[in-house]
């Protein structure tokens, strides 16, 4: 019985692009969480424009992870958990850095390339629009 329910739920979860599926009945519950797969969903802050080494006069423009959705911005995936990243955190490609809630559904914001979080630009619980910079970042070499 449980096994059948499990496979049904798994099938359902795979057929959607939901990050998280929770099934509850009486006092038992089943909880799925999708492992982050890097997708198009993330930053237009990368890839970085090629740095011009010879020209030191102009500092490189800041790089950002930008929002690809409209919604409410969260630093962590629930109120009682620590933020995904803080200033100085080095993240790998595809790693969640924040979550955005839209229409009661939470979606992770993923880093599309290895990078270091330099500065968080939006406070927890604030609303964000499409294309809005969320984090200022610095690029990290691929082998982090």
């Amino acid at each position: 019985m449980i096994k059948k329910r499990l496979s049904e739920l798994l099938e359902f979860a795979q057929a959607t692009d939901l990050e998280e599926v929770v099934w509850e009945k009486d006092d038992s519950s089943i909880h799925f969480r999708r492992t982050a797969v890097p997708s198009k969903l993330t930053p237009s802050g990368s890839p970085a424009p090629p740095a011009r080494e010879s020209d030191n006069a102009e500092p490189a423009p800041p790089l950002y992870i930008r929002s690809t959705m409209v919604g409410t911005f969260y630093r962590s995936d629930s109120a009682d958990r620590p933020p995904f990243v803080v200033e100085g955190t080095v993240v790998a490609s595809g790693q969640p850095v924040a979550a955005i809630e839209a229409m009661k559904i939470m979606k992770d914001v993923l880093a599309s390339a290895p990078c270091k979080i330099m500065k968080a630009l939006v406070a927890n619980g604030h609303s964000v629009e499409y294309g809005q910079p969320l984090f200022e970042i610095a690029h990290e070499p691929e082998n982090v």
Partner: protein, 455 residues
């Protein structure tokens, strides 16, 4: 009444809706794509939210981002304008489930009028005259087909069930051409709408396009307003609209208006909508379709009635009632509208995007311009090419035409090609001036370059 309305549209209609809201004391939220960041509607609204990149499918048609924008801004209603999501039943449904009022009719009404074959059946039952045709879809291999076409009477027209904008349409003059025309229309419809179903209808020669604005409240009161004539079209896109129609007498107006009212009542219509008819030379009229939204040309009706239809629409969506109970609304004059598009009429109306180096609007008396353009504005390539609606009112048709000529002469838009010169020519044309223009006017008199140097 609503406290804050999100406008899920752009361009002149977004500006028009924001103006109505401001006068009603309602806060506004503009949504916009990245290239529309400095658009007029964004400047005028109380708040704005960027909802996606340029392509409409990722921004103005992006339902999750639009609903999210309504939620984060605390909007209690969404005005869809025209086009984009205005007649999308799924969107109306999502709004409802998120407790945001969709400013328009019920999703059932949109659905019933959106499927043309179903709408025809609803109209037949309601006693609204419909064009003789097939009951539902036809297929090319039906042995009864030639008999049916003969009964309808040639010429007949093949139309796509899911159609619009002239796609999937074929006029058939005689029996030999029938089967190939149906097959071609089916494959064209399949490619354009993903649905290859087609039906047959009697083809009317030289019809006029006459439509009635209706206004309806939640209590079932439906009022019709004076007709608009929109016979000047190019490939089923309206170019000029006027009210009243030069062909209308008061008894036909009353008959058609009452039919329009029955059409709206048949789907329990609420807010504002338009019932479109074709009128033949013998004053027979036939239901064409119902548009379940505010239309581009609502302005000519506003000019001749003095009503503010966008405010009416918002009021009625909020559950208020119609407080005037008259049909045969008195006419304040004769109004004409020209749709100024960023298109090159000398080169087959090809789109002409670019940056406007100069804009000078014509002025009063009797002139209204609904627009979002300004000097320095860049016309994006992603959306329709409407730049401005130029509307005039005169005591009679002759005076309105003269006023339109004067206003067209004052209107300056530099930087892109526009349809302004075309309207100058139409206003001078004897057939138009006599009020004898039918839906074939543009194809017959205005196609091809003016000096005949190109063929």
């Amino acid at each position: 009444m609503f406290k804050k309305i999100l406008i899920a549209n752009r361009g002149e209609i977004a500006v028009r809706i924001i103006r109505a809201c401001r006068e009603m004391g309602i806060k506004t939220v503009a949504v916009h794509s990245e290239p529309d960041r400095s658009s007029r509607h964004v400047q005028l609204a109380d708040e704005s939210v960027c909802i996606g990149p340029g392509p409409a499918t990722e921004s103005y048609l992006n339902i999750p981002n639009i609903i999210s924008a309504a939620e984060i801004s605390g909007s209690d209603a969404i005005h869809p304008g025209y086009g984009f999501l205005a007649e999308n039943t799924y969107f109306a449904d999502v709004c409802e489930s998120c407790h945001i009022r969709f400013i328009g009719p019920s999703k059932e009404a949109i659905e019933k009028m959106g499927d043309k074959a179903a709408a025809r059946e609803t109209m037949r039952k309601a006693g609204v005259p419909i064009i003789p045709g097939s009951d539902g879809c036809v297929s090319a291999d039906d042995p009864e087909l030639p008999k049916l076409a003969k009964k309808i009477g040639y010429p007949v027209i093949v139309k796509a069930v899911a159609g619009g904008g002239g796609k999937g349409m074929r006029v058939v003059l005689s029996e030999e051409a029938l089967v190939p025309a149906i097959q071609m229309a089916q494959s064209e419809a399949k490619a354009a709408f993903g649905n290859g179903d087609v039906y047959l209808e009697k083809y009317l020669e030289q019809p006029r396009h006459i439509e009635f604005q209706i206004v309806a409240d939640h209590k079932g009161r439906v009022v019709y307003l004076p007709e608009r004539e929109c016979s000047i079209q190019r490939r089923h896109q309206k170019l000029i609209e006027e009210s009243p129609s030069p062909a209308m007498d008061s008894s036909t107006r009353r008959k058609m208006g009452k039919a329009a009212r029955r059409a709206a009542e048949a789907v329990d219509y609420v807010t504002v909508g338009t019932v479109e008819f074709l009128l033949d030379r013998k004053n027979n009229f036939y239901f064409l379709e119902m548009n379940t939204r505010i239309q581009v040309e609502h302005t000519v009706t506003e000019m001749v009635t003095g009503l503010d239809l966008v405010k009416e629409q918002i009021r009625l969506a909020a559950g208020e009632r119609i407080d005037y109970d008259r049909d045969d609304y008195p006419l304040l004059g004769h109004a004409i509208e020209c749709r100024i598009n960023a298109e090159d009429p000398e080169h087959d109306f090809r789109p002409s995007p670019g940056t406007l180096t100069q804009v000078i609007l014509p002025g009063p008396p009797g002139v209204r311009v609904d627009t979002h353009i300004y000097p320095g504005y860049t016309v994006p390539t992603y959306y329709d090419s409407l730049l401005a609606k130029l509307i005039v009112i005169g005591d009679n048709r002759e005076q309105a035409i003269r006023r339109m000529q004067r206003a067209l002469g004052e209107f300056v838009i530099d930087g892109v090609k526009t349809t302004l010169p075309l309207f100058g020519k139409i206003m001078q044309h004897e057939v138009f001036r006599k009020g004898e223009a039918y839906t074939d006017f543009i194809a017959k008199y205005m196609s091809g370059p003016p000096n005949g140097t190109e063929k």
